[in-house]
Each structure stands twice: as C-alpha cells, then as structure tokens.
Subunit: 106 residues, 2 copies
C-alpha cells in the first residue's frame, strides 16, 4: 500500500542524558499519550535498529513518525493542546530534535 | 492505526545538482521502480513540505520511506536485485544519503 498523498512528519530526538533510562521512558510515555491527537492516521514510536552501514544515522534516541492526511492536519497537530502539553512536559529531556516533513513527490 | 512492530526505513537524499530537474526526476522514477520489492509493506516517495520551523531539515531533495514487517525483510531488501539495480543506475545523481532505521520502542 502506498501512502501516496499523505503528509509524513518524522522527528528524531537526542537526549540530554543518553544513558538515562528514566528520561528515555518519559519521552516514550509522552509520545504514547501524543498518539491521541485525532488527525494522526498512522504512527510509529521507535528506537535505532541494529543496522549499521556507513550511511546510517543511529545516534538518536527516539524516532517519532506521524502520518497525516494532509498539511493542514499536521498544522493543526502542531497547535493541538495534546501536542502543546507533550512539549511542555517533555522538552527538558531532549537536547536536539530534527524534523523532516515530506509531501508526495509529483 | 499504529505501525507497532514494523521496521521503519527512512532515507533522505541530497543531489549533486540540486537544481537539476532531470536528476530529481531520474531519482523519483528509480524509486517508483524500487517499490516493486515484494517485502515493502508501505512506502512514500516525498519532497520537503512547506513547513519551515527552526528544527526542520528541508535541505534534502527526496525522502524515501519504506516500511517492512521486520528487520529480516529489510535485510533481504538491501540485497534484492531490484534494489541493487536501483543503486547501480541512480547512485551517481546523489551526493549524500542519510538513513534512519527504527524498530518499535518497548
């Protein structure tokens, strides 16, 4: 199944304390609550796989993939109270975030 | 729908000639052929969205998201003749590739 016209929002988190299982768990728990946002069509909460070729980035702690029907739904997610609460409660555990937003290539 | 136990393979490509529509089109066409690999459960061929906050990386040319049932299927994709042919035919158009492979966080 192609995801075709979907809006792909993929966030990678690096923690201030990469060795803290508590901080990792807090972020994972926060993301699980974040999945309640109604416009999220599919999601994946991940950690680096064991693959390790030269081109593979695996220094991040957590991967958050959220798939929306369109850009407007992702925009509304950004200001959804559930998302704002997630950021407020968890932003102190991450040191760096990189976001890749992609739309269908035509 | 959660993607739960899926293996998420997300590749970002930067082109040698970012302004070449021909090179971009070649890469997109190559990825479309690549979707024929039988273990790919879902895929998305993308370009940067219009979002532009500070944390957003939008310097890449093409996003290739491929979702597999498990790590073994992704391993077999790496050596699938269709994938090898894709690399052989198209590697000259990209300057840089970053790959993020993620598995379910538990």
């Amino acid at each position: 199944m192609a995801l075709d016209s979907k809006f792909i929002h993929h966030v990678y988190f690096w923690l201030h304390n990469p060795d803290s299982k508590e901080d990792l768990q807090q972020l994972l728990d926060g993301l699980r609550k974040l999945t309640a946002v109604s416009t999220i069509r599919q999601f994946h909460i991940g950690v680096p796989a064991n693959t390790s070729r030269g081109v593979i980035e695996r220094s991040y702690a957590v991967s958050w993939l959220a798939i929306f029907d369109n850009a407007a739904d992702q925009d509304s997610y950004q200001v959804d109270p559930i998302h704002l609460k997630f950021v407020e409660e968890n932003a102190h555990v991450w040191q760096k975030v990189i976001v890749y937003d992609s739309i269908e290539a035509v």
